[in-house]
């Protein structure tokens, strides 16, 4: 599979988080995607038990290994989504409408479950070799 590029931009802004400074930050990066496991935008209904979002175990050796860029959003209006690593350690929780983007590492899988009911998660997962 040929290498691909992913352009990522994150912006944060606030006029009232601090009294003395405004927050206004925009950063961009162009990432090289060269892994074997390349999963496009997907939606999945969750349950209160963990499910993996990666199809194959994450591997690769870049920067400590098992690296993958992951986007996820809670597209539900009511319940939270809870994310855990391959040791079942919870590291993130998305309330309705919230999202994250991060480079996962050092884990063969990423798991998600709901806080209650069956909210859906939207995600994208791009492995690095």
């Amino acid at each position: 599979m040929a290498n691909a590029s992913l352009k990522v931009t994150v912006s944060l802004s606030s006029t009232d988080l601090f009294s003395t400074i405004n927050l206004s930050k925009t950063v961009s990066d162009t990432l090289t995607i060269d892994g074997d496991n390349r999963q496009g935008l997907t939606t999945m209904k969750t349950t209160t038990s963990f499910d993996d979002i990666n199809v194959n175990a994450l591997a690769g050796s870049t920067q400590g290994g098992k690296k993958a860029y992951v986007y996820a959003k809670n597209i539900d209006a009511t319940d939270d989504l809870i994310f855990a690593d391959d040791g079942d350690q919870v590291f993130a929780r998305l309330s309705p409408g919230e999202f994250f983007f991060y480079p996962s590492a050092d884990n063969t899988k990423i798991q998600v479950k709901s806080s209650a009911n069956t909210p859906s998660v939207e995600f994208l997962l791009l492995e690095v070799d």
Binding site: A4, E98, D106
Partner: protein
Amino acid sequence: MATVNVTLSLSSTDLFAKQAINFTETDSISPAGDQMIVGRLVTTGSGTEDNISLKALDGTNDRAYVFIHNLSSTTGEYVKLGLCGTHGTDSASGDWFSVLGPGEFLFMPVSDMQDIDIEAAAGNPVVEYVLMEKAAA
């Protein structure tokens, strides 16, 4: 309560032969915890875990919105991010949930951790970060 606007854009024309990626997500978050930090940290170096919160993250599920950016441009100067279960103590050696290569960044609502451990793989890369605790205890 403060409002912070967050925007994430992802785009690619060559990830898939039959599907281009091009979307933008926006959210207005309202962090209401008792620590909000804009920080710049020169990492200590390989073998030492640095922390980014001033005190233990608390509130329900110890949640916080975190943006972290590795400012290094030197190959090999990536930083490893670990889940710190108890503020003031290091995460288990070799147990990371993320790495940021030179120039890379993340935005994530973290949960179930009292702090984040940051360890450079090499050199002393500088990280800039914004940490916004979601709710007070």
